[in-house]
């Protein structure tokens, strides 16, 4: 299951379950839901950034060499990046363990 930094009892839940910290979703590491992961073939990649644009979880960040790398702590394995990549540089491979 997802990792949560603060598991609390019902009395300590914030009023109305409101969340006061902007961007706190970053604490929810959704990567462990994944059944397959994107694997990049650097030979084919033209560094266009379409994977970065389309990833619904904003997993991608650009490396110093200009490639785009997905953060596996958040990647859900949806395969959208692989589908959108104009060069078929991304392959979805099953998570083995």
């Amino acid at each position: 299951m997802a990792q949560i930094d603060a598991i609390v009892g019902w009395k300590d839940l914030p009023f109305g379950c409101h969340v006061y910290e902007p961007g706190s979703t970053a604490k929810f590491r959704t990567g462990d839901w994944r059944s397959q992961r994107p694997v990049l073939d650097k030979e084919k990649c033209i560094k266009c950034g379409m994977c970065w644009v389309f990833c619904p979880d904003m997993c991608y960040s650009q490396t110093e060499e200009g490639y785009f790398e997905a953060n596996m702590e958040y990647c859900k394995g949806c395969g959208i990046c692989a589908h959108e990549c104009p060069k078929d540089a991304i392959t979805m491979v099953p998570e083995e363990d």
Binding site: M1, I7, L13, G16, V19, S24
Partner: protein, 392 residues
């Protein structure tokens, strides 16, 4: 001191919302709620009330608007009926756990099919578990008073929960009654400005209504349920303060000639007035009959009801709702649970009556009492009975 006038109950409710100085009204017209929101739109349009009247495209949108405006810290009101309440359903479950104190009038009406614009309680019973505080009015004065009470309670920081005032469609909504319309100063003294605990604010960002993963969902539900249960203290306090300012007293459960009564009718809403006439008629004939009326439906006032039922040996519970395939009507089921295995508990018989505008007359109440008495001696084969249904 307020002014006693002859006025249609819907118009009086709209006036109460004006006196409560609602900031936002988002509503879609539907029979028999229409006159309430129609009159409110006039009041806003002619500048009598400084509010935003949002003419939405559906009840789903109306309730969505209400959630947003309440979250922004505005005193928020809406009203609906029947199919409109059903169309709101998806959104109705949000403001409770999110602690948004919206106030809504439900002009109770039957649900299709067959299409019926007439009165019963099936619309609200289908939404029984939405997690709102719910009261039922008996007459026009009570409809006005409970509306003011609803704002007072819902917005109390200790409560911060949405609240429904149920009024019977047509029997209340379209009837002209003598009603004391309170003075603005009295209402202002009763109802402080809405100061929400949290509001949407760009300078202090907050996420309302986030996802509740399995690790927090149960706790969130528990917190909401405990808030509903704890609201009873403020509900009672709200009625106490109401009596001090306006001189009219309200309790979670009311009784009528119930002392030493052997059989008690149990009702909710406007049929209780006919039930009182029926009790008088039966008492005149020497029958030991009384009435208990439930005003506060959620949170259910268990201890108050037990006290009101006193030592009666038979309860004849009337549901204005027929839940198909269920063991009995919702009020009957509630009371059977309440008294289950309690020492000295009364025998409880469940009756369904007054569906889709069918009148429940004094004679019908007498029939119900006679049947309940007979069943107390000889157990009925069914767990509830539909009253007044034609067999041939």
């Amino acid at each position: 001191m307020g002014k006693r006038v002859g006025i249609e109950v819907s118009i009086a409710i709209a006036d109460a919302v004006k006196l409560a100085r609602a900031d936002v009204i988002a509503a879609y017209p539907i029979t028999p709620q229409t006159h309430i929101v129609e009159h409110l739109s006039e009041i806003v349009a002619n500048g009598e009330l400084d509010a935003e009247f949002i003419t939405v495209e559906s009840e789903h949108a109306a309730m969505s608007c209400c959630c947003g405006s309440s979250a922004a810290g505005a005193r928020t009101y809406t009203a609906t009926s029947s199919q409109g309440l059903a169309l709101m359903s998806e959104i109705l479950y949000h403001p409770g756990p999110m602690r948004l104190p919206i106030v809504m009038t439900v002009a109770n009406r039957a649900l299709a099919a067959p299409i019926s614009i007439w009165n019963d309680h099936q619309d609200i019973m289908a939404q029984r578990d939405i997690g709102w505080i719910q009261t039922f009015a008996e007459n026009g004065q009570e409809a006005v008073d409970l509306t003011l009470h609803a704002f007072r309670v819902a917005e109390d920081r200790k409560v911060s929960l949405p609240m429904i005032v149920n009024i019977d469609g047509f029997t209340l909504s379209h009837v002209i009654e003598p009603i004391v319309i309170p003075d603005q100063e009295e209402v202002d003294a009763y109802l402080p400005a809405f100061k929400p605990r949290v509001r949407l604010d760009v300078k202090k960002p907050v996420t309302m209504g986030p996802v509740g993963i399995p690790e927090v969902y149960t706790e969130a539900k528990m917190a909401h349920n405990e808030a509903i249960k704890a609201s009873k203290r403020v509900i009672l306090q709200g009625w106490k303060e109401f009596a001090e300012i306006f001189g009219r007293e309200y309790n979670p459960v009311e009784t009528y000639r119930s002392e030493d009564a052997e059989v008690l009718l149990v009702t909710m809403g406007s049929i209780s007035e006919t039930a009182m006439s029926a009790v008088d008629a039966m008492r005149d004939k020497g029958a030991s009959v009384g009435l208990v009326r439930i005003r506060l439906w959620r949170p259910f006032p268990g201890p108050e009801f037990r006290k009101a039922a006193g030592k009666a040996s038979v309860l004849a519970v009337i549901d204005r709702c027929l839940p198909p395939g269920a063991v009995c009507g919702p009020v009957g089921a509630e009371l059977r649970s309440l008294f289950y295995k309690m020492p000295g508990a009364p025998k409880i018989f469940s009756f369904v009556a007054g569906l889709g505008g069918r009148d429940v007359t004094v004679e019908r109440f007498e029939e119900i009492v006679d049947k309940a008495r007979a069943y107390a001696k000889k157990r009925p084969t069914e767990l509830y009975e539909v009253i007044g249904v034609r067999e041939i």
